[in-house]
Symmetry: C2
Subunit: 324 residues, 2 copies
């Protein structure tokens, strides 16, 4: 690869001038500029970002550590981020932590060593505070979870999502409701049930013991809920598969509501509590940029999800509402 010195020699100028031509920070004589550019083109020269970053002490890299790529949710954020950051001169470095705190630690170290100027990550609750939180140079931005109150945080109001979803089901007359997941959103359920004077739903969590498919199947058969509310897209997927296997169709046999609007939920007309991920991604990018460029203080922004109804939830008739 050609360097600025090669170009300088060919153009008959100093490498300082080459550098200036490429970032246009000082006025060069047009003729000089043209000579430099012609030489650069001839040698196929591109400035070396590594050297430039080292000298400027600005890597122009932003890190994003996600769980995995199978969650379409995350990937949409990644793409949106990249689209916003690229025109501002930032590049995106991606790593996957597979929901493993130890792996996340390694990825974070890697991002720090790579001099990422900001790192967006999904922190874990209830783990010992990682050492990089103290004295880490990049700005750390928490996504979805908020264990560290002195860091930036962007997320969704999950309790509100649970609340509006539950409220909706209750309003349609459902009283025997199976809620899958949502352990950290309990308040939302409590609020909705409290307001309606309804009993709490049946909760199911995949606690890693036993076969979740089987367990859910059993609940469906025994408790005969009139509605299922899956509070995470993977629970929704599981619910769908189980209902399918049991031959239960929605909304006729059972009503179905879930968190997250994915490709398949819209294809299959599933009612969802949708997170505004586009808006979130934009806010994320803005937060990163303002932390970096304006040295802003860590911010916190919470977005409210909204309900999208497509017909997978049925309003129970008076008759049905009565039976216990």
């Amino acid at each position: 690869m050609a360097t600025s010195k090669d170009v300088a020699k060919l153009a008959g100028v100093s490498h300082t001038t080459v550098s200036r031509a490429f970032r246009g920070d000082v006025k060069l004589r047009k003729e000089t500029y043209d000579r430099v550019m012609a030489a650069a083109r001839q040698l196929n020269y591109t400035p070396n970002y590594l050297a430039s970053s080292l000298k400027k002490r600005r890597s122009q890299m932003i890190g994003f550590i996600l769980g995995d790529a199978s969650n379409p949710f995350f990937m949409g954020i990644a793409e949106e981020l990249e689209a916003i950051l690229e025109p501002l001169g930032y590049r995106l470095m991606i790593a996957f932590d597979r929901y493993d705190p130890e792996k996340q630690r390694k990825m974070m170290q890697m991002m720090i060593a790579s001099q990422a100027e900001a790192v967006i990550f999904i922190p874990f609750e209830n783990i010992p505070e990682p050492e990089y939180l103290r004295a880490s140079a990049p700005r750390l931005i928490q996504l979805f979870r908020n264990p560290y109150h002195d860091l930036s945080y962007l997320g969704f109001d999950d309790n509100y999502g649970a609340y509006i979803g539950m409220k909706y089901l209750l309003e349609q007359g459902h009283r025997r409701i199976l809620v899958m997941g949502g352990g950290d959103r309990r308040q939302g359920f409590l609020d909705a049930c409290g307001e309606s004077g309804a009993p709490l739903p049946v909760f199911f969590h995949d606690d890693g013991t036993g076969d979740p498919q089987k367990q859910v199947e059993e609940i469906l058969l025994q408790k005969k809920p009139t509605a299922v509310f899956a509070v995470a897209n993977w629970y929704g997927r599981q619910a769908y598969m189980t209902m399918r296997r049991l031959g239960l169709r929605f909304p006729e046999d059972i009503s179905f509501l879930m968190f997250d609007d994915l490709q398949w939920t819209s294809m299959m007309a599933v009612d969802v509590v949708a997170q505004p991920i586009r808006t979130l991604a934009q806010a994320l990018a803005e937060e990163a940029v303002s932390l970096i460029q304006d040295n802003a203080l860590p911010g916190r922004t919470v977005f409210k999800p909204r309900l999208i109804c497509r017909g997978s939830v049925r309003s129970l008739s008076g008759e049905e509402r009565k039976e216990k």
Copy 2:
């Protein structure tokens, strides 16, 4: 951020020694090593990859330019790549070109300027040869398409996929088949039809004129195909939506087969021509590493897709086969 000099001072050694301690390339006295590490910990020191890369002229970065994040296909590859490359000390830089050649050019320039050691990209056919192909330092790896015969290439045997899919439909007795997409896989269709002495299917392409949904709807209603074969996952998605809108259910009313095994295709038990993306991603990572580390010559590997049958294709009865 602390530098190696800071650590050196605190540990009472030279920064050369600090550097050596951190990469263990030369034997240090254990005591020296420990002193360095203690000082490093105290100062929260991490070696600066930027400086290291610049000096070693090895960025340890691999670039991956994809179309977008909404194609689950690509993202699976990205994740697999990262998982394989990370333990080898490589980082992954991701950019999206939105299927725009001009954007791809910019992304590639960016990767080159970032000193990526290899870049994986999905080249366009029929565009003027980009200038970076001549004299670009990183090894370029073509994915899926193969316009540049002196570059590495990994992909799927699409014609074979078209062939086995078509063959399967023909064997189930289908003769009126709607094929969506697949223009570049014509040979596979020709072969399958030739072998079976069957007429060519009806082809549909989204050429950007008019509303594709409407157009497909029309074909379904007028030509009344007994099977739809979507030769790309976005066509499959579109086919699904249109059939749903028309109230056509598979396999009862119409048979349905498509390319690519996604989350929703398995959820909805759609028969697919599946690409072995995990295998591909592994081969991709190996190709990148062998180009970089062993200075290997560009390789070319083509994987064969395989058919996964789940019941969305129905075998026509003798009666049905007769009617024209």
